[in-house]
């Protein structure tokens, strides 16, 4: 087992860990941030698997755009909640 195998195995362990914790975290914001980290680790794994096209795309899409969409969704949900509370009072 050489050094690159060790690196790959540690990346896979991190991937599994971040995937599980992104699913188990109660707080949605924390969960989104862990999901971003998961995407970045996944893009490194793809770069190691000799697929650089996928690595670039995943780094831009997974860590950039889907996370931005998730954050905006969270903010919008809070806005809706605040508005309905204002209407009630």
């Amino acid at each position: 087992m050489n050094l690159s195998d060790v690196f790959m195995i540690s990346l896979l362990a991190l991937l599994l860990l971040s995937g599980i914790s992104a699913c188990l975290t109660k707080n949605l914001l924390v969960s989104f941030i862990i999901f971003m980290a998961y995407s970045v680790i996944m893009s490194v794994v793809w770069a190691l698997l000799q697929a650089p096209d996928l690595a670039i795309t995943e780094a831009a899409v997974g860590a950039g755009i889907s996370s931005v969409l998730l954050f905006i969704t969270l903010k919008k949900l809070r806005d809706i909640q605040k508005r309905s509370e204002d209407e009630k009072t």
Binding site: L12, G19, A22, C23, A51, P52, G62, S66
Partner: protein, 127 residues
Amino acid sequence: MLQTLWENRIQCVAVLIFAVGFSTLLLHRNLVKKIIGLNIMDTAAYLFLTSIGYIRGRLAPIIVGTDTDPSHYANPLPAGLVLTGIVVSVSVTALMLALTIRLYDQYHTLNLDEIYYMALREQEGGQ
């Protein structure tokens, strides 16, 4: 068998991540969490496909010079398939998030069970 599983450890991790995403999709009540679970499932399937395309000791399928011997490069086909899949999965995510916002606007909760009961009652009330 354990030997093969250890050799195919990337595929094993892909299966495990797929299971994590799938169980989140099935068991979590929160709609946004379900969407994250579906995304994780997506990336697990892509990881599996990409690891099929890897060949030990070969470089990415970008031709160097005039060397077009197929036995020097990795398989470009899974990468091409996954590349389209990633971009489709982000548009699916956006669509699901938009639907979630509309549901929250209507029912003021993210819990799928509550939404289901409310919709059921609403339907009966309308009859």
